[in-house]
Subunit: 347 residues, 3 copies
């Protein structure tokens, strides 16, 4: 399948020249030839463009009916007859940029729904879109090109840089965002952190949660994900870091730039992650830890100690992947051996 | 306790005949005898109906004060004196249907709140209910009997079949739903998938996420659960599959019919589950895997390989339950033995 | 850093006497001396107050520039010259109360936004605040001082005691709450539980979910957390229990008072937790279990058996911490020994 025609009709057809320019790619085809859209390699038709994702898709390549395929220079020989090669050193990136010609990201066009509740002291760029039932608090600042979708709540004083997108039902308070920040549906940014202290009467009193959330340029926060504001410092997410659905960041957490935090990850309060850290799904990271640049944490791991830069960790408690794999193999071998012994006894 | 009287007053009393007809069950009582409602076996009173859930509740049966109890034919001899037996081969189902006589599922009655934002191009059946502050996008189609609760957002082009219920704060976009689909409060359907590629400048560019979400008849999606739309194909959930709160389905995931996905499960992109698969709480399933029909995945498991039909898996990484149990027992034995050795040394 | 000045400007300066009175603490300073706010020990300035969290912060204490520090009597000797000691037997509590003088919790002031949808039969105390697009259902009761934020949905018949706060996008139905209950953004209380039974035709029919949710005084429910209502009894959360973001409580769950449930925990249906139980992040607790008073469950544990009062559990499946630690050490030792053996073979 290509783009779903009901939801993503696209702006086509587009001439090859425009697509190559957007993709910074080369092809030896007719610059005026027009394509209708992008599609997966196995389903693309003669007027569609696909791409070769990894070497293991080479078989699909030989069978493709795509009109053109984006791939690396050395892979062009694998193209079936009549299929145009679009050459790029970064095929996925080139393909994404070609797709964006057909399906450009929407930008705010200055549409304000009459049923939005906008505080008169908010500063909203005239180009920003504000959807039905959106709420913009006092002294909030909304940059050019922002899209505030239906039901989004932007709290008092919140700053959104240019071209931010707040999807339906997301709420953001006590936060300052750079350019191009995206909050997906139901994301919660700026909540009170989970910090309290007992009283002699057996109640809890909340410790001061008076910090903000700072989101760098192009940070994305997944659907229903939560980022708590800082306690006595700020919670910080660095430039271009992407956080998936249902993830949780506690108060005072600091993520560097370019991190990838997959769905349902939990990062406890005051943990500090460097740049380009990859955290796979359902991982838990304990509070106050330091995770070095470019570390990678495998799915469902439980990190309870600091992690060195570049380390590959796995397991709960998390260990270096090699160590964990050895442990897994050891247990497997011993359990199998135990079974053998038991079988002998049975005889 | 029975139904909470403040929130579920119920439509009673009801005559036995009507209840038996609804339950497709038999009883030798007075067809005109009236019951006031349903209740748990241990708390039901003389005008209430309970049911015998499993054999381990037989003790409670002997002590029940219920006026009638739904149970299997062979269990009728266990009834205390004066308690009417309602005989069914499927007592839980019969009980559910009796309860539905007292507490019928609401259906849309054509009520539209004045403060809903409905695009003029949306096609809404006259019988559908639209609550306060609900948003219905352009060209959306809402079937007969649907209930769109307060604050629900139905995006442009979305199709809802007959008798769907969208609870408060749920949002759905880029999706086509069959009949009787239920989205619980805060569910997020149709979000952009988590797919992107790095640039040479150390940023990420989103890969095309141009597919839809297809929900079969009677699919239910739990509170604050998330289902991302497909990338270049669709995300699909088969008929009657039930997804619990806070679960996450990535882009291109395909679930068969009758699957059960318990709370906080994460299913990564492009994983394919067959029919009648049961996935217990907090399980993670890696991307691109195939899980066979009627497989069962134990709580907190991490599935990293394909699973055969009918298999019972457990652990992280997931293994056949028997293998995993043996490993657990082996480690337990070795740790205990090690302790013994240490104790000897201490002497 | 102190409180973020944009979002938490605070009500200062405040005289020492007022702060000591609020904190029930002692200091030998000038009662008229004024402080501007609270801050972390490492960042506080001469007109700010910090506190000594634990013994491991003593080094920071010697370097602090804070005007005053809250600490225990025996720690006063560690104060740097010129820094005022504020003496309390419970420094964290005293600090929280001092912070609350600068940043008092907001209370409802009787502000009702014109764009709220309030059923005429709802009973709302005149002092309650109702934000834009909030929805209050029929016969709901809202106590004095409550704050119902933008987009909150309070269902029919719901009761909120005095001084409850419902944050944006939270929804609550079928629930009765005591005083001072807080639902953070996007929390879902009162959803239908996940209970159903198969039909001969391969569909599922929902079992009756007719109970309520009872939240005791001062219960707090985190952002996007979910609490399902009971099936044929109630789901109950005891006084002062705190539930963090994205946690899940199934139907009929009962939590005692003073429990702490950290982010992303899942508690399955009908589990019963005593008082003062601590459940760390991402734990799963199976259905129908009993967890004794003051038990502590370590992060990511999977509890599949009843837990004794006061027990410390860890692992999946959960074991007493000492047993689990021994197992971890045993596997580590065997894996290392196996490696040694393999190395010998390689020679």
């Amino acid at each position: 399948m290509a783009a779903h025609p009901r939801f993503f009709p696209g702006q086509g057809p587009q001439p090859l020249a425009a697509l190559l320019a957007a993709a910074e790619a080369q092809a030896e085809g007719d610059a005026e030839r027009r394509f209708s859209g992008v599609a997966a390699l196995a389903e693309a038709g003669p007027d569609e463009i696909a791409y070769l994702e990894t070497a293991k898709h080479r078989e699909a390549l030989s069978a493709t009916r795509a009109g053109a395929v984006v791939l690396r220079e050395g892979e062009a020989a694998l193209l079936p007859p009549g299929c145009l090669g679009i050459i790029s050193a970064m095929p996925a990136l080139a393909f994404a940029r070609i797709a964006a010609v057909f399906h450009p990201s929407p930008r705010g066009m200055g549409q304000r729904h009459a049923a939005a509740a906008i505080d008169p002291s908010a500063q909203i760029d005239p180009s920003a879109d504000i959807g039905p039932f959106a709420v913009i608090g006092a002294a909030a600042e909304i940059g050019a090109g922002c899209i505030i979708h239906a039901h989004a709540v932007v709290g008092p004083g919140v700053v959104l840089g240019e071209n931010c997108t707040i999807h339906p039902h997301a709420s953001i308070s006590n936060a300052i965002c750079g350019r191009g920040v995206v909050l997906h549906a139901g994301a919660r940014v700026g909540n009170e952190g989970f910090g309290f202290t007992p009283t002699p009467q057996g109640r809890f009193v909340t410790m001061p949660q008076l910090g903000a959330v700072l989101l760098g340029d192009e940070v994305e926060v997944g659907a229903n994900a939560c980022i708590d504001r800082g306690a006595l410092e700020d919670t910080v997410v660095g430039r271009a870091t992407r956080i998936d659905n249902l993830a949780q960041l506690g108060h005072n957490v600091r993520l560097g730039q370019g991190c990838v935090v997959v769905a349902q990850v939990g990062i406890s309060g005051s943990a500090v992650l460097g740049d380009w850290v990859q955290v796979a799904g359902q991982v838990g990271i304990a509070g106050h830890l330091h995770i070095g640049d470019r570390a990678r944490i495998g799915a469902q791991s439980g990190v309870i100690r600091d992690v060195e830069p570049g380390a590959d960790m796995l397991g709960s408690p998390a260990l270096p992947v090699r160590v964990k794999m050895r442990e897994i193999a050891t247990v497997q071998r011993l359990a199998a051996a135990g079974l053998k012994t038991m079988s002998k006894k049975d005889n």
